[in-house]
Symmetry: C2
Subunit: 490 residues, 2 copies
């Protein structure tokens, strides 16, 4: 842990893994593809979750919990969904183990074979709509605005901590509505909540828009997404919201008596963000020293490092440290005191910089005499002396300034690396040297596929904010009335 | 939902299921043994979880997340643990499905068979200790005080919602210590936190004590438990805390360099409470009208039911209702306004009584004229008129009074139905007519087994609070220095 992380410019992927492992955010689990989220990483996730949960509840959503096990047959009910999800799944076939009759530990009991295999949920539309069928009879039962916080499993051979693991944590909203318009509105409301979560809490600027036919969710009418630019100029899909139309209601035969006294299929949405957001925070803000955390979600917003030589100094300094801690906590700040005697102040500075704590307060014998502390900013690397009676105000101000600064810095980086392209040659050039390419688009799914094969870039979204007017499609040269954003993506 | 629940005296088990289903706390999932926790039940669980989580964090614990999948071989590492847990497990054998070549939906892809089968965690000691081996080198790395909130799976054929389901939600703490004494102390600290959670938040009095050899956790040196009495006089084990000694450290070869510079096995504890607590709350407080929720964990602490006939009345009443709601929320109270126009006030009264909301505020045109509302208590069924300007104070007082009253009522019920027994005949009589039997105990595990076979009662715990002195064992007649508590249990 004492050693630093690989420089971004030397190997960005290695830098990322170093930050995650050395910053003690996560570790590899014993089963290939699995991840252990360590306390520091989990505290970050908890803060993101708390923020998201409050935003959901403010907009009338409630939490619930549906089973992990989905009967295999459910997955094949919705035709597109089965293509998208039924493949790389963990399958439960037995429900009992027994002692090996030959004495080698335990073995699967062949007599305990399930009649129908169970799939560990890769996403819960199917099981939730099977339940909604029981609960929905009339328009009076609608809307249902349910969210669940859960683990899901999608078998992955190539693991990337937080970004691509076999099991991950997420939330999935599943709503049911009486009209197409209301479901559509809900899908848009939720993508805007994700935008707010990303921009206001994670300080992560995002493009908000619609997915193309080729990129949308398996079973959706329309998929909306927020797309962020990482430090290596690749895109991260950070959240999606789907207008599912009547597809799942039809697959699970969920009808309701509408106001005209007619049976009608229910309209649906689903939407989710996951622990992937932690990966996004790392890659949007991090630098060669490690992580830089936005104050709103940082597990520790301030770390206090006391410095002393004699026991007498220690007693006096720790008394002051307790007072400072109390004052900061009284403002609702999350404060950690690192008074570990096994490690030096210099080592602590490095460690907490690597772990991205927004502010560090240093206080030694001289500071005590002079009625001051040193406050160091993680984002700019600057230090300033602050008088005791000004500490709480200063910290509060700086936390808010850092939150703002991180957003602006990320936005500037993204905007500088988003290039308008006129034709395919320009697109290739941009994608090749790194960055987002935006340009007029009127191509087909087949065209997208060719572009992906040739450049590895995909359409991240058709952004809601459009310039208006018309142009020529960068690929087909046909008239186009929409701009699309292309990039390589995680 | 309009119809009431079965009377407790007619069929207690049916009463319980009615409360859960009609109160919309939970529903049966499509796979046998699984449960869907509906929003109202989940909100109750969230409040319990929030209270517990705060108690854990106050005592220095942090949250983390470990994988769902445990390699089969891990379960057999600790000899007792495998006996206790390895049997009724969900086993993942494959990681892919494919389209049925004969066109019948999807089938398991035989080519995607795992080399080693994976078990869905029934509890996480094994996988967590496999990770602790990577993280622990020296006494400086200790203690580790980790908790996780997770789903676990233990295959069950007979389902009872919240009490016994194949998948359930829980928290499991897993701590690692440098000395036996510190681990022992931790196990005791946590059982006391569970007592506090049960008594102060759930208004559920509990006996706190030690499990016998026969009843302790598979792999533990000692198991401590909190045991509550349900409305049918059966016991519910509501939480357990285990001193695991060095058993898991030895099984997973986890040693640390101690202060004397010697390698030593690490000492461990684990402890957990689950969604079973929801079942406990239902059965400790509920009555023939349905649920009665302790205010500290009730999803809605007050429901306001406005009553009107004309639109003009409606406008004036709803204005007042908004004001009352705002004032109560300003006190931090959880308030629901039921202004549904599809249902009558009488129907709403019944519904919210069934759902156990502690207080109901009724306000109609006459009340408005007279500057008052009616406040009804769910626990006592009493009603009183309260002046507008006294509403917030009165509600606050009543919530606290109900919390207290529920505890006292449950304690009185438990104490009245806990009988001191001198001999086995008396024990049989108590257990037969219902209740807890307490008496001197010096029997063996074999004796316990006979008693269980003959009476269905087990030793719930050897309570920490002992009368002192000696007596004669109720079963063997031998000298005994401890009292044990026997009961039939869920």
């Amino acid at each position: 842990m004492a050693k630093g992380v690989t420089k971004q410019s030397i190997d960005y992927a290695k830098w990322y893994t170093d930050v995650v492992l050395k910053g003690e955010l996560a570790d590899y689990g014993p089963v290939k593809g699995t991840m252990v989220i360590r306390p520091y990483g989990y505290a970050l996730w908890e803060n993101i979750r708390t923020a998201a949960d409050a935003l959901f509840k403010e907009t009338g959503h409630v939490n619930a919990y549906f089973p992990l096990f989905i009967p295999k047959s459910y997955l094949s009910r919705e035709a597109d969904h089965v293509e998208g999800f039924a493949k790389e799944c963990a399958v439960v076939t037995h429900y009992r183990l027994k002692n090996d009759p030959e004495g080698n530990g335990i073995v699967v009991d062949d007599e305990a074979k399930l009649e129908e295999e169970l799939v560990i949920r890769p996403t819960s539309e199917t099981i939730i709509w099977a339940m909604y069928k029981k609960w929905i009879n009339s328009y009076r039962d609608l809307p249902i605005l349910i969210n669940q916080w859960a683990n899901v499993v999608r078998w992955e051979m190539r693991t990337r901590l937080f970004l691509r693991t076999t099991e991950f944590l997420w939330q999935e909203g599943h709503t049911a509505h009486a009209t197409a318009a209301e479901a559509h509105e809900e899908a848009l409301t939720m993508i805007d909540i994700y935008r707010k979560l990303a921009e206001e809490y994670l300080a992560m600027p995002v493009y908000v828009g619609e997915k193309t036919e080729a990129e949308k969710f398996a079973g959706a009418e329309q998929t909306y997404a927020i797309e962020a630019m990482m430090g290596d100029m690749k895109a991260l899909q950070a959240g999606t919201s789907h207008d599912l139309g009547q597809n799942f209601a039809k697959a699970f035969d969920v009808t309701f008596l509408n106001r005209k006294n007619q049976q009608e299929y229910v309209y649906a949405t689903s939407w989710g963000v996951s622990t992937r957001l932690v990966g996004g925070v790392i890659m949007v803000h991090g630098d060669d020293k490690g992580l830089i955390l936005p104050p709103k979600v940082a597990p520790h917003q301030v770390v206090i490092v006391p410095i002393w030589k004699s026991d007498d100094q220690k007693a006096r300094i720790m008394e002051k440290v307790s007072e400072i801690k109390r004052r900061l906590q009284a403002r609702g700040l999350r404060v950690l005191v690192d008074d570990n005697e096994q490690t030096s102040p210099g080592w602590k500075f490095n460690q907490w910089e690597m772990k991205g704590v927004p502010l560090r307060i240093e206080i030694g014998p001289k500071d005590l005499e002079q009625d001051q502390v040193v406050i160091a900013r993680r984002d700019l690397g600057t230090k300033e002396f602050v008088r005791f009676d000004m500490i709480a105000d200063t910290v509060e101000y700086l936390e808010s300034d850092i939150q703002q600064m991180l957003y602006e810095r990320a936005q500037k980086f993204r905007d500088e690396n988003t290039h308008t392209v006129k034709d395919y040659a320009e697109l290739k050039e941009v994608v090749d040297k790194g960055g987002f390419a935006k340009g007029w688009w009127a191509g087909s799914s087949a065209d997208e596929e060719v572009i992906q094969t040739e450049t590895k870039a995909t359409i991240r979204c058709i952004p809601f904010r459009q310039p208006g007017g018309q142009g020529r499609c960068l690929y087909t040269g046909q008239p186009a009335d929409k701009i699309a954003i292309f990039a390589k993506a995680y």
